[in-house]
Structures are given as C-alpha cells and as structure tokens.
Amino acid sequence: MSKLRGWKELPIGGAIMEPGSSVENNTGSWRTYVPVRDYEKCIHCLRCWIYCPDSAVIVKDGKVVGTDLEHCKGCGICAKECPPKIACIEMKLESEMKPDEPKG
C-alpha cells in the first residue's frame, strides 16, 4: 500500500487520474471462499480466464498456471463456468484451510 496522500496532494473531487489503478486495490482481502484447482484435470479451455470478473486467472503460454490471490474475490464464477465434465475447480472455505494447502 502506497503512502496515504494529504488533501493538498490529491486531485479534487475524488477523481482518480491514473488509468488502470484498480490493480492497487487488494480486493483479495474480501474473499471468503477460494478456488482450488486440480491441475491434473484442467484441460486449459480458459473459460475461467474469460469469465473471471477480476482478471485473476493467471495464464502463461495458453495454460492456466494459477490465481492472482491479491485480486480474486472468491466469487466462484470460475468453478461455475468450468465445463461440468471437467469440474476441476472447488471453492473451499478459506478460513478452514491449513496454511500449506494449495490455493488457486
């Protein structure tokens, strides 16, 4: 989190003058459920990537490789959109997970 600015430094009217600044907001802290993928089952159809409202599905070279947990709000859309025959995403209650359990 960058240093909080004073009233003399801020743009007036509550405007945000830098485009794309929502990435600075750690919306991952809102999460209750977290997606957990079974990467053995995943066919990399990228439906979760298409539907994720927070662009939190990380894709490299056409393959799903993880979840941006700083921005994933745990909405479960990825699990819902995952093809039923594959169903490789489970939404888990994060508070009941062990610290070393894999997420994303």
């Binding site: 009233w7 801020l10 007036i12 009217g13 509550g14 945000i16 003058m17 485009p19």
Partner: protein, 393 residues
C-alpha cells in the same frame, strides 16, 4: 441604460443564460421556476443559443444529467424551486463534492407541506450545507447580474464549486421590472470561453469520475471543499468588482444601507431587503437611527465582514424567511455565531414571510419597534412577524 427592458425575474435570469449560451441545460418544470426554462427553451427553439436541452423526467434526473454533462466538460445549467430542489438533494451534494461548476438559478419557494407555491427561503436554506455557493437577489436586475457572475465564481480554477443564484418566487420571478441587459459581446467576454477543469471525453488522458471514497480518503476530499469555499470568498469579491466596472453595479457580500451611524440595524436576504431599506428611510425621517444590510452571499458566509459592519449598533434584528425547527432562523444563528468573542451587541430574530406571507413597510417598522425594546435592554424573544395567535382551542 441603452438596453433597459421590462421583464420578470425569470425572464431576466433566462436572458442571462441566453447571453452565456451554455453547452447543456437539463430542464424540468416546477412553479415558480417553470417560466424561466420556458423562456430559455424559446431561445433554443429560435436558434439564439446552441445549448443542448435535455428534457428529463424529474429534478433528480435533471441534476444527474447536469453531473454527467459537467463531468464530460460542458458548461452546464439547470433551474429549480422548492420541492424540485428537494428531489435533487442527493445529486446536489454529488455535484458539489465532484467539484462540478454547475450554475443553477433557484427560485425561492416554500417547501411543502402543507403544500404552498409561494416565496420563502426554506428550499435554499435546506441545502446550505451541500457545498454550493449561494447568492440571493433583491430585484430582477440582481437576478440577472447574479446569474452572470455565478458562472465566473463557480468556474474559477481555485473554486470549482456549483453555484445557485436565487431569486424570490413570484415576488421577483413573476414581477415585471426594468432590467438592463449588458451588450452581448460584453457578456461573452465577461464569462469567457469555457475550458473545463477536466473532461471525461478526453480520451488521451482517461480518468475515473466518482469512484468509491472510503475511510482513508473521503475526509481529505471534504477538506478540499472547505478550501474551495474559502477561496470563493476572494473570487466573489474580485468578480463583483469586475462586474461593477462593466455594469456600474458593484457587488460584494452584502450591501449596507445607512448603517454608518445606525443604532438599529436590520439584516435581510432577497427581495425583502428592498422593503427594509424603504422602511429604514421612513424611520430616518421620524428621527429613528435605523439602517439595514442586504445579505447577498449566504455560502460562503461572510460572518467577519458582517460583524465589522454591525459592531457599533445598539441592537441588530435578523430577518429570516425560513426556520430550522428546534433552533430558529438560520441567518440569525449564523450571525450570532460569527459574533462570538468579537462583539457584544444584542440580537433579535424575526421570522417572517413563510409561505409567501407578505411583508410590508409597516411590518418592518413594527419589527424596528420591537428591536428598540431589545436595544433598551429587554431580553429579546424570537418574533414571528404577523402570525395570528387566537385563543387556544
């Protein structure tokens, strides 16, 4: 006096808008404002202005359209009265806190209920805390002058706040008076080409308008609004002087009338200030050392300046055309608060004219009689001028 015309206060304000030729006007009718935008719509229909008129379905929508338009970078106006202003409420605050210099002639009218369409100041006073600059007019001429100045004040780079130029419903809005219109070119030069502080249509520099502003920043933005209001003080004075040079009619925060040696001073807003000054002249003929102050600017409130003007009086009567229930008249309480630790002059509150109840010169003379008792040391009580009491049922 080349361009002296007979017109109502509404027509005068509409002509000010015509000469400014704003980019966008969002309009919705309400008595007694309707005639104003009716007149303006004629100018649009006749091609005298190239304003985009947006006919909306309510005042809430009118102010919302203004917010969108002003954020897009357009010089934007609307006009309303009473319950229309009340319906705008939510967006009135958003316009101010988003720092959009919208100009709104506001025709002072009693808020319902019981339902009433006539003049008092309860509508305007209701949004005194909203962050708008508020100007009051004594005459149709002042309504015209205030609407023109409202653009310069609101749009000043150190202010960027919306401004309502108010005129009293029916008493000014529907009364024909002589009004001098400034030459078209003079107005164009005075208000200047509009260059918006920001425009959402600027695709080269995209920015976010109206984002969520929570515990960590909302308060800082409120502090900026305080600063803008403080800056408005100097700007109002500067613009008033410049307008005086153009028109011969000087404007500041208030206009004193015979206060230099006055023992009894009355303070009033709007059209009543004229009645009060006539009463003052009559009382002077009878040897009563009366004087008056016509308050033009209510926000930002010129407390210190008023206190300087009244410090030698024996008693000051403040006339309020609205009530804050459970407290009293808003103007009275502002002035009494401004006097704190500065002067010790007795003050008395006179509530008058609610719902358009007429206030005459003899009424004002009776107010001064009450004020004489206060000057003589009697404990001042709030007076409800002309209210019938009758026997308890």
């Amino acid at each position: 006096m080349a361009n002296l015309k007979a017109m109502t206060g509404n027509e005068a304000a509409a002509n000010a808008l015509r000469q400014v030729n704003p980019d966008v006007a969002a309009v919705y009718p309400i008595t007694p404002q309707t005639e104003l935008m009716h007149e303006f719509a004629k100018f649009v229909a006749n091609g005298q202005v190239d304003t985009e008129v947006i006919l909306v379905e309510s005042e809430h929508s009118a102010m919302s359209a203004c917010v969108g338009s002003a954020a897009a970078g357009a010089r934007t106006v609307t006009a309303t009265s009473a319950n229309g202003l009340a319906l705008m409420w939510e967006i009135v605050y958003i316009a101010a806190s988003s720092r959009l210099p919208i100009v709104m002639p506001e025709i002072n009218r009693a808020l319902s209920g019981p339902i009433n369409i006539h003049c008092d100041h309860s509508d305007t006073m209701g949004c005194r805390d909203s962050g708008w600059i508020q100007l009051f007019s004594e005459s149709a001429q002042e309504a015209y002058d205030n609407v023109l100045q409202a653009f310069r004040i609101a749009e000043h780079k150190d202010v960027l706040l919306p401004c309502m130029a108010t005129l009293d419903g029916f008493i000014l809005s529907h009364t024909v008076e002589p009004v001098e219109l400034l030459p078209e070119e003079t107005v164009k030069e005075f208000v200047g080409e509009y260059a918006a502080h920001r425009s959402l249509l600027n695709v080269d520099n995209p920015w976010t308008f109206g984002p969520l502003d929570l515990q960590n920043y909302y308060f800082e933005h409120k502090r900026q609004q305080v600063e803008a209001m403080e800056n408005a003080v100097g700007v109002i004075e500067e613009v008033g002087k410049e307008f005086g040079e153009l028109s011969g009619r000087n404007y500041s925060f208030f206009e004193p009338h015979k206060i230099e040696d006055a023992e009894l001073i009355l303070i009033a807003l709007g059209s009543t200030a004229g009645t009060v000054s006539v009463a003052v002249d009559r009382l002077r003929e009878q040897g009563v050392k009366a004087g008056s102050i016509k308050l033009r600017v209510f926000r930002p409130f010129p407390g210190d300046r008023i206190i300087d003007a009244i410090r030698n009086a024996k008693a000051v009567g403040v006339m309020d055309r609205s009530i804050s229930f459970g407290l009293g008249g808003p103007v009275y309480h502002e002035i009494r608060s401004a006097a704190y630790r500065k002067i010790d002059v007795p003050m008395q509150n006179f509530i008058y004219g609610l719902g358009g109840r007429d206030i005459s010169v003899p009424d004002v003379c009776s107010v001064v009689e009450d004020l004489q008792k206060t000057a003589a040391g009697e404990e001042p009580e709030t007076v409800y001028v002309g209210v019938r009491e009758g026997a308890a049922v």
